[in-house]
């Protein structure tokens, strides 16, 4: 099909952002988003754009935009929450002793996978505490939940 000048339509950047998000087209989303002057955008526009970035798969951009929006609008609750949730992970070492039960539970899972495949199981120190078709059934039946591994047998 031949496209003539009269067929061309001017599309605003916000519409293009939405289109890129609908298509899951991260590259298009970034191309459009980086051409926007965000200093002129409202808090609601920032919020909407963060959600569109998430839909487009532009997760790193969503983080940057949430942080920028939160800086620009320090009293906007939704932007503050988005910035906090999407912030880089924080890690710290904890001064606790090694936990030998990790291996014991994995040994149980390797040895009994065929018997319990598809079931949820609760294990402690390599011992089976319970099994059921759903996680909450197993969890509800436990007398003590301390150091219990809850997992679906795969």
């Amino acid at each position: 099909m031949q496209v003539t000048d009269s067929d061309k339509v001017l599309v605003d950047r916000d519409t293009l952002l939405k289109t890129a998000a609908d298509l899951g087209d991260e590259a298009l989303f970034l191309e459009v988003a980086e051409g926007i002057d965000w200093t002129q955008r409202s808090a609601a526009e920032f919020t909407r754009a963060v959600h569109l970035a998430l839909a487009a798969g532009a997760h790193l951009f969503a983080r940057k935009l949430a942080r920028r929006g939160a800086e620009q609008y320090p009293d906007h609750e939704e932007l503050q929450k988005l910035a906090r949730i999407l912030a880089p992970a924080r890690v710290m070492t904890i001064d606790l002793p090694p936990d030998k039960s990790v291996r014991e539970n994995q040994i149980w899972l390797r040895e009994h996978a065929d018997e319990y495949k598809g079931q949820w199981v609760a294990l402690r120190d390599g011992d089976l505490l319970g099994a059921a078709p759903t996680a909450d059934e197993v969890w509800e039946r436990l007398e003590s939940r301390e150091n219990v591994l809850l997992t679906k047998v795969r």
Binding site: G24, H51, K81, I85, L96, D99, V102, Q106, A135, R154
Partner: protein, 154 residues
Amino acid sequence: MLNFEDGRLFAQGACPFLYQPATEQETTPRIFIAVEVEGIRVETAIDTGGAYFVCGPEVADLLGLDPADGVETDELSIRGYKISGTLHRLSLRLLAEEGKPLQVEATAFIPRLQPYQTWALPSFMGLLGCLERIRFAVDPATNTFYFGPIDEEG
């Protein structure tokens, strides 16, 4: 434990991992480690191609999260699939059989399923928002997963 040439620690903790497919339909094995999610121990797949800590809805139901702490997303693109759900900030602990455990404050995504949908996948730890601040290494000879923080001097 693993060290740099100058003696600094590369990893401060290590744990055994399970090497198994993520679902009954898959045959390609993945690395699973034991992680405590807000106090509940689960087996979690390592997914360096993914984003966030994606928490299986069965486990998320047991966490008793306050919806007011999260952000609803109508559509979030995870590995090319559009999924609706909630973003939260969760505290994870990588359990150590040797050395010290590691606490991670991560971006977590909790899928929201429709009544006709089921979640066949495990919980998994993606790179962005979760593993991004952790040094890690895998020894396939002993099925050992080494981990340490990049924010602290070893």
